[in-house]
Symmetry: C2
Subunit: 416 residues, 2 copies
């Protein structure tokens, strides 16, 4: 994999040129894209030309992939749906401009599931092509895993950053809700849709979001010092397989060896209960967000999404309002938990990437944290008995992304 | 003006047809649009045809105007900017689909200022064409005031619903933040942009939002019973002219006569201080939201907006994050105020509509409430000595829109 932060430092110091790094990406794409299918669109020529120009900004001309649920003016935008085959957005989404303003180069659009929901695209898992890469940010995770890109943007409404990152063995980082602007992405649920990033290492993901936002997140080689860690298995622990449990135990042990105080933790009831609220909020909003597509393009929706929206239409507004109130209370209650610990660790997914390309796996260990809006990082480095990657998820306090990243970096080092 | 709720009841009962009501709108447009300039685009033929068809839903085939900051697939969408002259959105904004799903008919797009900021469009005040209609929802307010539409949609980031409604002598209702979906509107500030509505009377505005959302807001002839009212002049009281002060006193007296307990109230310091935070949040986000336009279409921005965004680019991210924290605390503190009162009344604007069309007036008495996310209703019925409308603003508790509407209806009746 390509280490974005190190590459940017090398370019800045004159040890490498941006064009050389871009050529490396293009060579990897030539070698692997036909098998993996991470991209919907690529502009090699423009990217190569931009890499030749002098880089401006911290990203130093590094190639970036943009999930194809996000508007780009210079590259096709399909949202994973035949309804948008002829769509040409009038403007880049702000996140795309932030990439450019930070010195990044948009090399391509990466595969999304249909409207970032469940119906998969063409992407295969770089570690084993018969397995799903996860979704909905399938292409972003796979492209980084295959060394075709150092950095990619994705989005998460349920588990669409953390899950594919875990399945593909890369770092996935979902910052605190609204750290990255979601404007110009096709909305599925405005209270849940969260922009996130993919990179090789924790420090690379942190470097990327620091560059995009100007926030103090570029942790470099720093790691957390003696953090207090809660190991959370949740009420859904029986849905995690043996490999996921083993990975979580290994992570707890690695953190403990690295100086952390690690203890098991049971979430407050209100926080646990919020997990069941997520679909109510997500689906009520999806029926509004996709109203034009549902009202006027229903025949071009996948049967699964069409049925999902038909069911969503039945959610009463009172149920939605109540769900939002419960979610707000759960967020406050979760804040109390962070008086006792600096971060939580939990499953990134029920296990490694499932076999087959029909589903992208389950967001069951992600949706609660999306609803809570907390920073989440999945840390790679562990595998199941068959050699497929298994991630461990670090969950931080709302708005305290740096602390969460430092814990994730400590875990990464501990697992290395 | 056209009383939407009464018209809908008449249509439902067979005393009127939707086509007859539509014909009345078209006749008023024929008579007045040339002087007022409320519309960017109209589709008379399609609207007439739809009105002939059987109406479905509570809006019963009533005509609705959509502010042209909101995407429509079948009518042009210009955002008040030459940058979007050739734009054709791929989808209706969800609010547009909600209008249609509720049985409304989109008759036209109404004039907005440039990107719903300050640079005015062509619209004139129906009460005195040499005066501004207010902005940024200029056309929506003017069209309802002139009887060209019973209902219109607008948006408010500073004071863009309440101010033009007050200047044009109609009811403007900004529901609690995120009651109406802002997807598919051109974002200026995602923490502030709020969808709102224009109608003749309080009950008409309430009926409209009830129809759009399915929430229990259709107050009919009901009014608040013996509410506790706080009269808030704010630290900016000296910016309100004699007519605005007289209107607020008259409103307090009318409410008192109608059985309310009315007392002067000083806002907590943290709430007052939040007013100064609004521009930090708005402008930091505007520089992100309009990044494509700024980066790639700067020459086609108005000089005022260009300079505004240039200044916005200098706002540090720490200042923005701190402003959001202070706003959150102010919202909590304002919640405490509503333990003592059921609603606040305050100025809708510094006075009646200013002369001239160069500015749309000041949002100085609106932006705090936009930031607080509270329901606001401007109630018409009073005038300045020259006969121009002066509104009074009712501010309710976050999420308690029905209670605020009932107070507004009591005030409206008291002023009649």
């Amino acid at each position: 994999m390509l280490h974005a932060r190190s590459l940017a430092l090398d370019i800045q110091a004159g040890r490498l040129t941006a064009a050389e790094v871009m050529d490396g990406c293009l060579a990897a794409i030539d070698a692997r894209e036909a098998d993996i299918g991470a991209f919907v669109a690529l502009d090699r020529t423009a990217a190569r030309r931009k890499a030749e120009a002098e880089a401006k900004g911290p990203l130093q001309g590094l190639a970036v992939g943009i999930k194809d649920i996000i508007d780009t003016r210079d590259l096709p935008t399909l949202y994973g749906s035949p309804l948008y085959e002829a769509y040409r957005p009038a403007a880049d989404a702000p996140i795309v401009r932030e990439v450019v303003r930070s010195g990044g180069i948009v090399l391509g659009k990466t595969v999304t599931t249909e409207f970032a929901h469940l119906s998969p695209g063409k992407t295969r898992n770089p570690h084993r092509p018969s397995h799903t890469p996860g979704g909905s940010s399938s292409g972003s995770a796979a492209a980084v895993a295959a060394g075709m890109l150092p950095l990619a943007i994705g989005t998460q409404t349920g588990g669409s950053v953390i899950r594919p990152a875990a399945f593909c063995g890369v770092t996935g980082y979902k910052p605190t809700f609204r750290t990255l602007p979601t404007l110009g992405m096709k909305t599925f649920s405005w209270h849940l849709d969260t922009m996130g990033v993919f990179a090789a290492r924790v420090q690379d993901a942190a470097f990327f979001v620091a560059a995009l936002t100007g926030r103090d997140l570029d942790i470099g080689e720093e790691t957390a010092s003696s953090p207090r860690i809660g190991v959370v298995r949740t009420a859904r622990a029986d849905k995690a397989d043996a490999a996921a449990h083993a990975a979580l135990e290994a992570a707890a042990a690695a953190l403990s060896r690295a100086g952390a105080t690690v203890s098991d933790m049971v979430l407050p009831d209100e926080v646990e209960a919020a997990d069941a609220i997520h679909p109510t909020i997500q689906d009520f909003e999806a029926f509004i967000a996709l109203s034009d597509e549902y009202d006027r393009g229903r025949d071009l929706l996948s049967p699964g999404l069409r049925a999902h929206l038909e069911a969503a239409a039945q959610i009463p507004v009172d149920g939605y309002d109540e769900a939002r109130r419960l979610a707000k209370r759960a967020r406050q209650r979760l804040g109390d938990v962070f008086a006792e610990v600096d971060a939580l660790i939990t499953f990134s997914a029920p296990g490694s990437a499932p076999a087959g390309l029909e589903t992208t796996g389950s967001p069951i260990f992600n949706r609660l944290w999306t609803l809570m809006g907390t920073p989440c990082i999945t840390v790679p480095g562990l595998t199941d008995p068959s050699g497929l990657p298994v991630g461990v998820q670090v969950v931080g306090r709302f708005g305290r992304d740096r602390a969460a990243l430092l814990v994730a970096a400590l875990l990464e080092r501990g697992l290395a």
